[in-house]
C-alpha cells in the first residue's frame, strides 16, 4: 500500500471536518468536527515524518494533542455555560456580537 494513501485519508478527514464546521449548527458537533480536523492534521504530520525518516512530525503531533486537550477543556466549558444560560447549543443563536 502506498504511503500516499495516508495523506489522502488525512485530506478526506479534514474536508469532512471543515464541511461539518460550516454546515452543522449544534455546537457539540461543530466541536467534534474541529477535533476531526486537528486529527487529520496529526495524521498528515506523522505521515510526513515517516516519509522524511525523522521524528519532528511526530513531536508536533504530540504538541497538537496537548493543545487539543486544552482547547476541549476551555471550549466545552464555554458551550456548557452558553447552554445553561440560553437553553440552546445552536451556534446560530450565539450571534449577540452582531448587535
Amino acid at each position: 500500500m502506498s504511503i500516499a494513501n495516508y495523506l489522502y485519508l488525512s485530506a478526506i478527514l479534514f474536508t469532512i471536518g471543515a464541511i461539518g464546521v460550516v454546515v452543522r449548527r449544534n455546537a457539540i458537533v461543530v466541536f467534534m468536527c474541529i477535533e476531526l480536523m486537528l486529527n487529520a492534521a496529526n495524521l498528515a504530520f506523522v505521515t510526513f515524518a515517516r516519509i522524511n525518516g525523522n521524528l519532528e512530525g511526530q513531536v508536533v503531533a504530540f504538541f497538537t494533542m496537548v493543545v487539543a486537550a486544552c482547547e476541549v477543556v476551555v471550549g466545552l466549558a464555554i458551550i456548557v455555560t452558553i447552554y445553561r444560560s440560553r437553553r440552546s447549543a445552536s451556534v446560530d443563536d450565539a450571534s449577540l456580537l452582531k448587535r
Binding site: 471543515a18 464546521v21 460550516v22 454546515v23 449548527r25 461543530v30 451556534v91 446560530d92 450565539a94 450571534s95 449577540l96 456580537l97 452582531k98 448587535r99
Partner: protein
C-alpha cells in the same frame, strides 16, 4: 557694574500677589479687598520713596540699581534674564505710578462703594500697578514687552469693567484691537533689534547702537514709534482713547491719563540711543506728536461729554510729550517733566470730573451741568487749579513744563522750528479754549440739569486724593524745573549734553510772553462764546468743522472704511475657503471611511458558521495562490 537691590522684586510681586488673591478669594474678600489693594499700593509707594532716597544718596554714576530674578530664556546665543533695572528714569515713573495710583485707590474706595464688583475692580487696579511697574522696571525690551501687554490687558479689563453694557464691552474691544496694532510694532522692533544686535537688553543695544547701520536703526525706531502710537493714543491709532472713557472714572484718571498712555513716551525716551542715531524716525516722531497735539485739541473743543473732552486733552498733551522726545537729547527731560506734571493735573481733573458725576447721578453731558461750582466748592476749586496748570498759567505746573517744550520746539531751528513752534503755540491756544469751555459749562452759568435734586459735594475720601493731586499740579512744575533739577537728574540716562544748541532764537521770557498771549486769546474766545445762559443740548446747526470735530475728525469712519470693512470681507472669503477647501477635504476623508464601513459591515453577520466559511474560503484562496505562484 550695576549694584543689586533686593527690593525691586517687591514692586511687582506685592500687587501681583494681591491681585491674584482678590480674584481667587471670591466673595469672601468683598469686605476687605479694597483695603488690601490700597495697602499694597501704598506699600509699593513706600518702597519707591525708600529707593528714591537711597538713589539720591548715591553718587551720580552709581545711581542705577538692578536685580536679576531668574534666567528666562537661554537658547544658544539668545539669553534673556528676567531682571529689573531701576535708574533715574524708571524712578520718576515708579513714583508717579505708585503715588498717583495710591491716591486713586483711596478715591475708588468711595467712588466704587455702591458697585457690587468693587473687589474685582481693585484686583484689576493692582494687576495694572504690577504690569505698569514691570513695564518701567524691565531691563530689556522683552521684559518691557511683558509689562506692555500686561497694562494692555488691565486696560481692557477696566474699560470693559461694566461689560453688561454692550457699548462698553465694544469700547474695551476697540481699545484692545488698536493696542494690538501698536504691539505688533513693538514685537517687530524687538525682532529687528535682535537680528541686528543679537541682544534685546537696553544696555546691550545702547553699547552697539552707534556702530549699527542707519537703515536698521530707522526701522527699529519706526516700529517703536508705532508701538508708542498704539499705547499712547497718538495719530493714527488714537481713536480708542475717547471710547476708553467707558471705564469707571478712576480708571480714566489712572490708566488713560496719568500712567499707561504715557508708556509710549517712556518707550521713546528709553530708546533715546536708537532715535538719536535715526534722524528719519526722529522726524516721524515730531510729525506724529505735532499732528496729535492739534488733533486732540481740536476734538476737545467739540466734545460735550466731560470725560471725552478730557480724554481728547490727554491725547493732545501726550502729543506735546511725543513731540518733545522727537526734539532729540534736549527734549527728553522736558517730555518727562511734562509727563509728570500732566500726571498730576490731569489725574486731579479726571477725579474732579468723577466727583461731579458722582454728585450729578452719573451724568456726563456738560450741556446738562452748569452752575455746579456753588454746590461743589472743593471740587470746583481743585478742578480750577488743574485748569490753571494745564493751560500754563504761572506759577502752576503746566507753565514750566509746557513752556519748556514750546521753547525747545521754537529753538529747533530752520523750518522745523517754525512749523513746530506754530503747532505748539496753536495747540496751547486751543487748549486754553477747550479747557475754559469745560470749566464754564460745568461750574458756571445757568443750571441746566433739569431735575429738582441739587448736586452734592463728594465725601472726604474722594476729596482728599483730589486735593493732594491738585497740590501736585500747583507745585510739581516749579519743583522739577527749579535749578534744572529734573534735567540734571535724567542726564545720565538720556544724555542731553551730547548735542550743543549754540544759538537760542527765542529767550525763555519771550516764549512765555508768546504762550501767555495765545492762551489769553484762547480764554477770551471761550469766555465770549460760552458766557451767559446756555441751552441744555448741543446746537444742531453747526459748521462743518464742528461736525468733524464731534466725530473725532472722521478717524473712526476712516478706520472702518480702510481697515475694518476690507478686513471683514477678507475674513469672510477666508472663512469660505476654510469651509469649502480645508473642511471639505477633511470631511470627504471622513465620508469615504464611513461609506466603506457601511458597505463592509454587511460582511459581519455575527454567525460563527459564516466566519468559519470565510476562513475556509480564505485558506483555500491562499493555497491556490501559493500553488499558482510556485507552479
Amino acid at each position: 557694574m550695576l549694584q543689586t537691590s533686593a527690593n525691586l522684586v517687591w514692586f511687582i510681586a506685592l500687587p501681583l500677589f494681591s491681585s491674584a488673591l482678590l480674584l481667587l478669594a471670591g466673595k469672601k474678600a468683598n469686605s476687605w479687598g479694597h483695603v488690601l489693594a490700597t495697602t499694597v499700593s501704598a506699600s509699593t509707594f513706600t518702597i519707591g520713596i525708600i529707593e528714591f532716597l537711597a538713589m539720591q544718596a548715591r553718587p551720580e554714576e552709581n545711581r542705577a540699581v538692578g536685580q536679576k530674578l531668574f534666567t528666562w530664556i537661554s537658547v544658544g546665543a539668545f539669553n534673556v534674564d528676567a531682571s529689573l533695572l531701576l535708574d533715574q528714569l524708571s524712578i520718576c515713573f515708579v513714583l508717579l505710578i505708585t503715588g498717583v495710583g495710591t491716591l486713586i485707590h483711596i478715591y475708588s474706595i468711595s467712588y466704587m462703594s455702591h458697585d457690587l464688583d468693587r473687589r474685582r475692580f481693585f484686583a484689576y487696579l493692582n494687576l495694572f500697578i504690577a504690569a505698569m511697574l514691570l513695564l518701567v522696571l524691565g531691563d530689556s525690551y522683552l521684559n518691557l514687552y511683558v509689562g506692555w501687554e500686561g497694562v494692555g490687558l488691565a486696560s481692557y479689563l477696566l474699560i470693559g469693567f461694566w461689560n453688561q453694557k454692550p457699548a462698553y464691552a465694544t469700547a474695551a474691544k476697540k481699545a484692545f484691537v488698536a493696542n494690538r496694532v501698536g504691539d505688533v510694532g513693538l514685537s517687530l522692533a524687538i525682532m529687528i533689534a535682535f537680528a541686528t544686535f543679537g541682544d534685546v537688553s537696553f544696555s546691550g543695544i545702547k553699547a552697539q547702537a552707534e556702530s549699527a547701520s542707519t537703515t536698521q536703526l530707522t526701522a527699529i525706531g519706526l516700529m517703536l514709534l508705532l508701538a508708542a502710537c498704539g499705547k499712547s493714543a497718538q495719530f493714527p491709532l488714537q481713536s480708542w482713547l475717547g471710547d476708553a472713557m467707558a471705564g469707571p472714572t478712576p480708571v480714566s484718571a489712572l490708566i488713560h491719563a496719568a500712567t499707561m498712555v504715557t508708556a509710549g513716551v517712556y518707550l521713546i525716551t528709553r530708546s533715546s540711543f536708537i532715535f538719536d542715531e535715526a534722524p528719519i524716525a526722529q522726524i516721524m516722531v515730531l510729525v506724529v506728536g505735532a499732528v496729535t497735539l492739534l488733533f486732540g485739541a481740536i476734538i476737545g473743543t467739540a466734545k460735550d461729554d466731560i470725560k471725552k473732552a478730557l480724554a481728547a486733552s490727554t491725547m493732545s498733551q501726550i502729543g506735546y510729550m511725543i513731540l518733545a522726545t522727537g526734539l532729540g537729547p534736549i527734549g527728553y527731560a522736558f517730555a518727562i517733566m511734562h509727563l509728570l506734571t500732566h500726571g498730576f493735573f490731569k489725574a486731579s481733573m479726571f477725579l474732579g470730573a468723577g466727583s461731579v458725576m458722582h454728585g450729578m447721578k452719573d451724568e456726563v453731558n456738560m450741556r446738562k451741568y452748569g452752575g455746579i461750582g456753588k454746590f461743589m466748592p472743593i471740587t470746583a476749586l481743585t478742578f480750577g487749579l488743574g485748569y490753571l496748570a494745564i493751560i500754563g498759567v504761572p506759577p502752576f505746573a503746566g507753565f514750566y513744563s509746557k513752556d519748556k517744550i514750546i521753547e525747545t520746539a521754537l529753538n529747533a531751528g530752520g523750518i522745523k522750528g517754525i512749523a513746530l513752534g506754530i503747532a505748539t503755540l496753536l495747540g496751547a491756544a486751543i487748549t486754553a479754549f477747550y479747557m475754559t469751555r469745560v470749566v464754564i459749562l460745568t461750574f458756571f452759568g445757568n443750571e441746566r440739569w433739569g431735575h429738582k435734586d441739587e448736586p452734592h459735594e463728594s465725601p472726604a475720601l474722594m476729596l482728599i486724593p483730589i486735593s493732594l493731586l491738585s497740590l501736585g499740579s500747583i507745585a510739581s512744575g516749579y519743583l522739577l524745573y527749579q535749578g534744572k533739577s529734573l534735567v540734571n537728574w535724567l542726564e545720565p540716562v538720556v544724555n542731553p549734553l551730547k548735542e550743543h544748541h549754540a544759538e537760542e532764537l527765542f529767550s525763555p521770557n519771550a516764549v512765555s510772553a508768546m504762550t501767555l498771549t495765545v492762551v489769553a486769546i484762547g480764554i477770551f474766545l471761550a469766555v465770549r462764546k460760552y458766557r451767559g445762559n446756555q441751552l441744555d443740548s448741543a446746537p444742531e446747526k453747526v459748521s462743518i468743522f464742528t461736525t468733524a470735530a464731534r466725530k473725532d475728525l472722521f478717524q473712526d469712519s476712516l478706520n472702518e472704511k480702510a481697515f475694518m470693512l476690507p478686513g471683514q470681507s477678507l475674513i469672510k472669503r477666508l472663512l469660505q475657503i476654510d469651509l469649502l477647501v480645508i473642511d471639505g477635504f477633511v470631511r470627504s476623508v471622513g465620508a469615504v471611511s464611513v461609506g466603506a464601513g457601511t458597505k463592509l459591515r454587511a460582511l459581519q453577520s455575527g454567525y460563527v458558521r459564516s466566519y468559519a466559511l470565510m476562513m475556509v474560503v480564505g485558506a483555500l484562496a491562499l493555497i491556490a495562490t501559493v500553488w499558482i505562484v510556485t507552479a
